[in-house]
Symmetry: C2
């Protein structure tokens, strides 16, 4: 007999650990969190946790990977079909289904910044950061390029460099959101400026 139930059970358990770990990292940041904190939050034994992740870095990379890959796959699926408006697709990727900038930042962002900044001299961390940057870059670049190919966006600027500036700007906002009081960041107003910048650069008339 095949161990079907067991496989499904293992998958669920992994998801449960990742969800609990995300909460702990969000609250405490990367450095201060230990594998013991995650064990307690997820309600698993030491063996139960280490069966899936051999250390904190593995665990954290798994969280980051799940989120980014989901975004990437979903965008790729959309791009394979006919897209009515690449501008709307871009806004959805940036601000969610409602395309509505608000004052909320990804809750895990401060922990992510810590993960990459404190580990900036570590080879594995740097390699992972680069891989992640490339994947994020690809999401924006593919949308921009497809919109330019279709003629919806101006070709005045290269999709690659525009995509990079989107990431730089969002990274800067994430940094400010992590460091400054909420009312100081003016996330929504700055996001609206990002939209206006892209409208100007892509010559979008909406």
């Amino acid at each position: 007999m095949s161990p079907k139930v067991s496989q499904e059970h293992l998958k669920q358990r992994r998801a449960k650990i990742l969800a609990a770990a995300t909460e702990v990292f969000t609250e405490q940041g990367y450095e201060r969190t230990t594998m013991k904190h995650v064990m307690e939050a997820a309600g698993v034994s030491r063996g139960g946790l280490y069966h899936y992740f051999s250390n904190k870095e593995d665990l954290y990379e798994a969280i980051l990977e799940d989120n980014l890959l989901r975004e990437h796959t979903s965008t790729q699926n959309i791009l394979e079909k006919k897209v009515d408006s690449y501008w709307e697709l871009l806004l959805k990727v940036l601000f969610g289904e409602e395309m509505n900038p608000n004052d909320e930042m990804d809750a895990l962002a401060p922990s992510n910044l810590e993960f990459f900044i404190t580990g900036r001299q570590d080879e594995r961390r740097r390699a992972y950061g680069q891989k992640r940057y490339q994947l994020g870059l690809k999401i924006y670049r593919d949308i921009l390029q497809a919109g330019q190919d279709k003629g919806e966006f101006s070709k005045k600027y290269k999709s690659d460099i525009l995509a990079r500036t989107i990431i730089a700007f969002i990274d800067g906002l994430a940094l400010e959101d992590a460091i400054l009081p909420k009312e100081e960041v003016k996330l929504k107003e700055q996001s609206i400026m990002l939209i206006d910048y892209l409208k100007m650069a892509l010559e979008v008339k909406v």
Copy 2:
């Protein structure tokens, strides 16, 4: 007799410590640097160092303050006189006297990011970060506002929000520069996009 020589000597000694400390922080980052490292690099005794700075945080804030205040004072002095081109002034503050974007980032930037990110839950660090953000914001906002008042810049966007987006974008670039390989960041090309963005938003014709 007044202790004139002694005063001057103390000032020079402080400057020497700050210069040596800047080098150490640049090389090792904030967290890994200790007061002992600074003593050795500056060639001063423990008493000699603690006479000026009671801990690492004091020392680091003094470095940050010296740099930002110099920039702020110099900009204020310029703004008090007649300015021919606020656009040129803005480019000089952003990219130095030659107004020429290049691939070089402030060498202390990675350490700064570490300082504010790892200390983001500490009250003193947060207050200092906010004070620093306000001062940086004022530099850009004052230039933008003066250019708008003179009619050199379009008033389409508020100087405050434009100034904030400049800082967000630069912060994002600093973050990428700290984490990614140099050839990946494309600092110069991204800086040129920042200039084009500001040209569009301020309706500058150059």
